[in-house]
């Protein structure tokens, strides 16, 4: 009998080190097929989409404690639909005053978000920590997809 289950998946990670800047990089990869399916790791299966989405949300909150969103670079625009200025304003609105200073590097100003996160994130109350991650709205580890399975 074919049943529809709801699978919680985690994005497949591929971590490397960039020795030139001494920070880990996260690579996004696919199976290199025509449909370019992103690589994922199955985590849990549920009978209802509500249960699956609830578990995915819990796992997302836990997973945020295990990584630095700026592994992928000093300013991960691809993780964030906001501009850097908007991100800075939003952090200030959350009560975060210790923000990374802009420094000149290769003829343009950059902020070392990676080091800033390493030095500060563990000090924030959980609601602030989660709110900062929520600002990084394009960076999500878990999702839910329906799958058909013969049980």
């Amino acid at each position: 009998v074919i049943h529809t289950l709801y699978l919680v998946r985690r994005r497949g990670l591929h971590l490397l080190s960039d020795v030139s800047v001494s920070l880990p990089l996260v690579f996004e990869e696919t199976l290199n097929r025509a449909d370019d399916t992103p690589r994922t790791v199955p985590v849990a299966a549920f009978a209802t989409v509500e249960e699956a989405e609830c578990r995915a949300r819990d796992l997302e909150r836990e997973g945020r404690r295990l990584r630095n969103p700026f592994w992928a670079g000093h300013w991960g625009m691809w993780r964030n639909s906001r501009s850097e200025d908007d991100f800075l304003s939003s952090l200030t609105a959350l009560g975060i005053v210790d923000l990374p200073k802009a420094a000149r590097r290769s003829n343009h100003l950059t902020r070392n978000w990676y080091v800033w996160w390493e030095q500060n994130a563990d000090e924030w109350p959980d609601e602030v920590f989660q709110a900062v991650w929520d600002l990084l709205d394009l960076d999500r580890l878990y999702d839910v997809v329906p799958v058909e399975i013969d049980l």
């Binding site: 990670l13 920070l23 690579f27 996004e28 299966a45 549920f46």
Partner: protein, 102 residues
């Protein structure tokens, strides 16, 4: 799973194609061992040559969220006979999922 980097095979991102699902881990491990042996023999055919395939296994020594140390000299490569080609992934089942029906 493996991607050649002009020097050795390195693992790409986690994830891949699911082969089969089992209720019991021992059953999954048994099939994994069988498939692994076949893959190792197929990929290890040139082990006696000057430049046999080499596989970088560092990813399995770390957790998924543990970034590697930025040390390009610390590569852990093994021959095909010791490489991983299949993994057993254990998933959580929600209430009522996967129970045998009488």
């Amino acid at each position: 799973l493996w991607e050649y980097n002009d020097n050795w095979e390195e693992p790409g991102a986690e994830g891949g194609e699911t082969v089969r699902a089992f209720r019991r881990r021992e059953d999954a491990e048994a099939l994994r061992d069988l498939l692994e042996e076949e893959a190792r023999q197929a990929r290890g055919a040139d082990a006696g040559e000057d430049s046999p395939w080499r596989f970088e296994m560092d990813r399995w020594r770390r957790g998924a969220f543990d970034p590697p140390k930025p040390d390009p000299l610390r590569y852990d490569v093994v021959p095909a006979g010791e490489a991983t080609f299949y993994e057993v992934i254990e998933i959580e089942l929600g209430p009522g999922v996967g129970e045998k029906r009488s």
